[in-house]
Symmetry: C2
Subunit: 380 residues, 2 copies
């Protein structure tokens, strides 16, 4: 947030006539607006609520690139006939611990919560549940879905593939999405451990911030169209690619590539969705790939009951011990503490639930225009 405020300050100082500070909207107002938008494009009431809660969990947790700023993108997918507001989401194959869910081209914001519920119900019965999803759309942030399991004393796993922006090690072709994976693990007195990570060096959202600021990117984030390391945050637009976690071979980019590949395969090859370069793009104006081998985009969701391994209270006591030991680790110079995965997002959520969601002026303009078009008043 500080970097965003710095940025706004900077742009303001440059006399570009934008507000010095982002507008802040109370969460409940933004939620009401978002539900109304989903209702207007034809979602049943329950689905509109699910979609809005799922989408805004990104804003609450500080992952602004995946939140309400994308609402207009989801509406455009609907307008392009690519997002079905009344999908017949259903299980098309299952065993006691697994299922494949067909999302019927629905919003991933609705399909993935359904699939995670299936995983949780299977875990209740046989210890774990694993659901691969085909024929879906973007599901928001992985963390939201994994946390649904963690709330029930289960270890939650959530992954999704996405359209190709990432070049495998040694290639100039974009073949993988930023393909995030999340593991949410419940604790006792401590809050849940939540590792939610794109399998790239840097998430696309961070690059967007540099693009707006026209600042250089660190080496290791992107390469240009010829496969050379690049510091130009706009290199993606001219045929460049994001780099897998690791950045280059010497620093383990083959590991980031491998992890992104695993997400792709579990989400799509296992379910019958599209994979690799054939994953449908989120922006509705980008043409669809040709010769697609599957249906829509894919997700992979899992739930493991902790008491399927050891008594839940024992597990939680040791998780508390784990978390406290790491949190109290001796910090490196210039740092005051070691972070536990999930800490920054949880702190942000508490702050934003209390103080509201800050929105960039450009996002507010988009939302106002969207509201005007669909007959929904914007609360800001």
């Amino acid at each position: 947030m500080s970097s965003r405020r710095d940025f706004m300050q900077k742009r303001g100082n440059e006399g570009k006539g934008v507000a010095l500070h982002p507008m802040t909207i109370p969460y409940s107002n933004l939620l009401e607006f978002t539900i109304a938008i989903f209702r207007r494009i034809g979602c049943p009431e329950k689905d509109a609520q699910t979609a809005a809660v799922t989408l805004l969990s990104a804003d609450l947790r500080g992952i602004d690139s995946h939140g309400v700023a994308r609402l207009i993108g989801y509406v455009r997918l609907h307008e392009a006939g690519r997002a079905n507001p009344k999908p017949g989401v259903r299980i098309i194959h299952e065993t006691p611990s697994t299922a494949v869910v067909d999302g019927d081209s629905g919003l991933g914001l609705v399909v993935a919560p359904y699939a995670m519920q299936v995983a949780i119900e299977k875990a209740e019965k046989v210890g774990t549940g694993w659901v691969s999803v085909q024929n879906s759309n973007h599901f928001g942030i992985a963390g939201y879905h994994a946390l649904q399991a963690a709330k029930r004393d289960m270890i939650g796993v959530a992954m999704t593939n996405a359209s190709a922006l990432v070049a495998p090690t040694f290639s100039v072709e974009r073949l993988l999405g930023t393909n995030p994976m999340c593991f949410a693990i419940p604790a006792g007195e401590e809050p849940a451990f939540v590792a939610d990570l794109a399998t790239t060096t840097a998430a696309n959202g961070k690059l967007e911030i540099l693009q707006r600021k026209s600042e250089e990117a660190p080496l290791g984030w992107i390469q240009d169209r010829d496969g050379n390391p690049s510091i130009d945050p706009h290199a993606l637009k001219s045929g460049g690619a994001l780099l897998p976690l690791g950045g280059d071979r010497d620093h383990g980019s083959h590991k980031g590539y491998s992890l992104g590949a695993v997400v792709d395969i579990l989400s799509a090859v296992l379910s019958g969705a599209n994979y690799g370069p054939w994953v449908p793009p989120f922006p509705a104006y980008v043409p669809m790939p040709t010769n697609m081998p599957g249906k829509g985009i894919g997700h992979f969701l899992g739930a493991m009951r902790v008491d399927a391994f050891r008594p839940a209270d024992e597990f939680k006591r040791h998780m508390d011990n784990w978390i406290r030991r790491f949190r109290s680790a001796k910090p490196a110079p210039g740092h005051d503490k070691v972070l536990i995965p999930g800490d920054p997002e949880r702190e942000m959520e508490a702050e934003r639930l209390a103080a509201g969601i800050p929105l960039l002026p450009s996002v507010v303009e988009d939302l106002k225009a969207l509201g005007a078009k669909l007959g929904v008043g914007f609360p800001g």
Copy 2:
């Protein structure tokens, strides 16, 4: 291998009196020797064979740091009373899709294959099987275990924790091991996809090569005792630490730290093994941690039947398509192809099965001394 040959060449040229080339031993001879050593320390015949096959899979696949070079280390664990040659390995908790296995202080080389077999049998019945293991020792390479599932048309997962060499992002303390994770995914006409990776920038074995050569390490592999980036490959000995995949915060080290933490938690907090800084060290001369919260080291093994999601032939056809698309991706300048995870190790295995296992003179000396001590003739 070429870097090793270069190294030997270099040392020879420096007049240090070592052989120009490593000695090469046929796999079957090395296997027979290794089985005999495990027999001599009291392993039942079947366990001696399992341990030897598991251990030497590392040499076959080119991960020399984890293979027969460590045989003497396993024997020393036995001598120190830390590796039980006749363990009563057993399931201490289970549900239809999960189990916790107590390794009874046995060799991980024997305990992990047992646990993977449990995972596979559960997957046969209910679609997937997930086994967390306590009270074990080092299990060799993760890839060997995950591949046991892939051979049966299952997706194999294998992880283990290890003693702490890695500092979490923003810390100077070593709290995590190199904690590898492996996913082995079967294909049809193509060989299996095998992503087997330490959750650090560089595996310890790579650092050992630089130590022997007294060459500098790339920035991003290690930090010194004060948490500053270091290029000294010996920095670990003076209180430094390996760095999580990503290397530094700007390049996503918090992601590598998160992944290493997930491996630690699934392997040990879930099973009742030791975690974080309390994981027992592999070298028997290193003192054990105090106030240990669990038993031995921990592993996590999983198997998912692909036909628990979609028909196996369909899945395999799409895996072949995935692999071929990635293998044919346009290479970056200076590279001839994009690698599929598992390709280099499989090619190495074919080469070494045919041509034998190359061993460094120092390893040969160790093995000869070990053989002499235990009354087993070394075949070289």
